[in-house]
Amino acid sequence: MLGWEYPPVKSGGLGTACYGLTKELAALGHDIIFIAPFAVTSEKSKHLNLLNLSQYRIKQDSISLKDRILSQFKLTAEMKKHVTYEFITSLLNPYLSEETYRQKYSQELLELGRILRARKNFSKIFRTIDNYEIEYNEHDRSWETKQIYGENLLQEVYEYAIKAERIALQYDFDLIVAHDWMTFEAAVRIKHLTGRPFCAHIHATEFDRTGGNVNQLIYELEKLGLAEAEMIIANSHFTKDECIRYFNIDPRKIAPIHLAIDKDEVAGEHSDFDVAKSGNEKFVLFLGRLTMQKGPEYFLRSAAKAVKFYPDLRFIVAGHGEKFSALVELASALKIADKVFFTGFLQGEDIRRVLQKADLFVMSSVTEPFGLVTLEAIKANVPCIVSKTSGVSEILNHVFKVDFWDTSEIANQMVAIMRYPSLAQTMRENAAREAEAYTWSWTAKRTAQVYERLLGCGKKERAYAR
């Protein structure tokens, strides 16, 4: 399994999802090798073999790749053309050719792979062409200071791909699973190298993250991964529809499986915190990255409207992101700066604490492929208002579903939940019962079914090829 985040190192829902899913998959008897770019082994990684790629370095090789291939193999003219790219150079300086890299380089490399594969000794040759080696350095700690989604993300994605490919050869496995575009390149490479089936998990598309203003390269990577995958698992019908609409993927190979939440993950008595609160103020929580996609400004605009009707309202904006300073300014402009608290990025225990403090959770996302945090809020006994354009809104009935832009309606609902305890209580009780159905064990079972179907097919095909 290839993933970009794994707890405790994580930024959003992806890491949580990977943890929940792998834990239950392991319980079902699956052996999982999880390759993450940065990872720390902890309690949460006991059930799988977690590989931290930062501890592997790429050894540079002085011998020209081109020469090596030419000297070792009799290549056709067409194939020579493909290997004129200087692999090592572009590897080390991916930004030089970033625009063209995906379209030409990788496609042609794959093309080469296909040709070589036809010769049946492809893996041996491949190993030779990519004549780099990786070395393991246990004491290397430099990566610890890195950001999980750093400035050189594309380069890291790229390094991840070639390192993962190398490592994959050291292990025996039946299935390649990759989470989101960051790992798709790696998955596709491993697939072509080993001939194992590839199942892509898609948690969000580039269209969700950017609101249509896509990064072409990422889009291409996503498209490649989705097109190459034998099976795609989308986290909601919403995401499935996006895959069909934007990536032109065959709907038959996309299985929507909703995410879940563990019972013990966010536990806590709501009443404990009522006591700790000073005065009558009620807390409304926004929890998520402060980006366009998450719609924090709609939250603040709703807040400004609601506070006129319920002056005891206080608002917590938890998360970090590029919109932070703009949001602080907006809060001042709306004259609610004294009622809004910006907490910065929260994780783990802090999330639990902030959820327990909250009387209401609002997810005003412009697009939200799933919205796992809603399930966390429900588990913490917090009533929720969620955007209609979210994956969770497909599975939940006992939450308010609202158009993210309809700030008056959000304010209307905020005030009602605060004013009428019977409403909040009914929502809490019913939503908790409803969310119980969505456990990781259920999600993992359905995921495993997809995997097994895929393996069944894969085996048949391979047998047929022999």
Binding site: K305, Q413, A416, L423
Partner: protein
């Protein structure tokens, strides 16, 4: 002895509320969605009330006294027929003139007042009585409470109001070994008779008729008749929503053909005699039925849980009835009328979370996307009612009312100048109704 067959149809339409937010509560004093109500009334009139009335009128005339039927029509439905579909009212009047139709008494607003306020309950029953007298020249003798909500206390109240017969649901777990197909007496009451709905036969028609998974699908007049005839010397009460014919079950499912065929065969059958509820008063009761906790005809639970099942519903109902005394004190007719319209049980029914997600009956009838939206809407309206009440109370406390009108907001002007505006508003409504005729 032939089997006695008693058919009774419920006709009810509430005044549905419009989208009403906290912002509306600041300035808007009109709560009802006239446009939606008009559309619904006119569409159901065309699909159900008019064709069904026409069919039954023909059958009554054809079988001269052998076919009889009972209706319970709520005041809120009649008011809306007057406004939006006067021809429906005319067709009911034509039915009333045949003498083969009984009209039942109930609460004018189809409310739960029997459970919350005896004074309000009596007022609403009286108002409904007056309405029946005025519209159909009919003096009702039979009482059926909202949604067949019934308990011993309600039977006592009905008897005290002079009714001879009362209707209730034939709840299986209360009846035990007893059959619903007899006339009973309520426990602790005097002479009043109790008729129980035959759930199985009623629901066969109302809910299972178009269910293709039902083993007895399709239901034919002959089959249905046979089931009733088999009961022998009994009083079978089939009570359903009138909207079953053509609205819940569409014309395309041949429901009108079924109704026609069934009544035709039943009227000709020697083994069946049509009666209306009031005629059951002359039967000797088979025993006493004790129902201390309220039952109803709703859902599978047959209790109050469709209207008062969750805390929001209880909260909403308590908030509503808590306003009663103060509103009556103001003697402001517009405010009182608005409040009374809010007592319709439908507003609470929409807040039910019982079957949310299953796409069950509640969702079908509700104009809201979710019970939570319904609750907010309702509570925001009540918030405004409270505001008006406060303004009126303040105004009443001052000596010179004209000063108040000048100084305060628009809303107050409206309310104080009520007499003029009310008359002005009534006239054009009547004119419109005439035009539609």
């Amino acid at each position: 002895m032939p089997a006695k067959l008693c058919l009774y149809f419920q006709v009810h339409q509430p005044f549905r509320l419009k989208k009403y937010t906290i912002f509306s509560a600041e300035r808007d004093q009109y709560y009802f969605d006239d446009e939606k109500n008009r559309q619904i009334i006119q569409s159901i009139a065309a699909d159900c009330y008019l064709p069904a009335n026409k069919l039954l009128l023909e059958l009554i005339k054809k079988y001269k006294g052998r076919f009889k039927v009972a209706y319970s029509i709520t005041g809120t439905a009649v008011e809306q027929f007057q406004k939006y579909a006067p021809e429906v009212l005319a067709s009911f009047r034509a039915l009333a003139l045949t003498g083969c139709v009984e009209f039942l008494s109930e609460t004018y607003y189809h409310s739960l007042s029997a459970l919350y306020s005896k004074t309000e309950f009596i007022e609403q029953v009286e108002k409904h009585r007056e309405m029946l007298l005025e519209q159909f020249d009919y003096e009702p003798k039979t009482f059926r409470n909202t949604e067949l909500i019934y308990d011993n206390e309600i039977a006592r109240m009905a008897e005290a109001l002079g009714y001879e017969v009362i209707l209730a649901e034939g709840v299986e777990h209360i009846l035990g070994w007893r059959s619903p197909n007899y006339v009973y007496q309520p426990a602790g009451a005097g002479k009043i008779k109790l008729l129980l709905r035959n759930c199985k036969l009623s629901d066969d028609l109302a809910f299972r008729y178009n269910n293709r998974l039902w083993p007895d699908y399709p239901l034919t007049p002959a089959k249905y008749l046979r089931w009733i005839e088999q009961l022998g010397d009994a009083a079978v009460n089939i009570f359903v929503d009138y909207e079953t014919f053509g609205e819940h079950i569409k014309r395309a499912e041949n429901i009108f053909e079924f109704l026609h065929g069934f009544i035709k065969e039943a009227a000709q059958s020697e083994k069946i005699e049509f009666i209306t509820p009031v005629e059951a008063a002359r039967f000797k009761p088979a025993g006493e039925i004790d129902i201390p906790a309220a039952t109803s005809w709703a859902d599978t639970q047959k209790d109050l849980s469709a209207w008062l099942g969750n805390n929001m519903q209880k909260d909403a109902a308590q908030n509503l009835y808590a306003l009663e005394k103060e509103i009556k004190k103001t003697k402001n007719k517009i405010l009182l009328n608005d409040w009374k319209r809010l007592t319709s049980a439908d507003h609470l029914y929409y807040i039910s979370t019982k079957y949310l997600g299953d796409g069950e009956v509640h969702g079908y009838f509700s104009p809201y996307k979710s019970p939570y939206d319904a609750f907010i809407n309702y509570m925001n309206v009540l918030e405004n009612v409270r505001k008006r009440l406060k303004l009126l109370a303040n105004a009443a406390g001052r000596e010179d009312k004209r000063v108040v009108v000048k100084k305060t907001k628009k809303g107050v002007k409206k309310m104080v100048a009520k007499k003029k505006t009310k008359k002005a508003a009534k006239k054009p409504a009547k004119k419109k109704a005439k035009k539609r005729k």
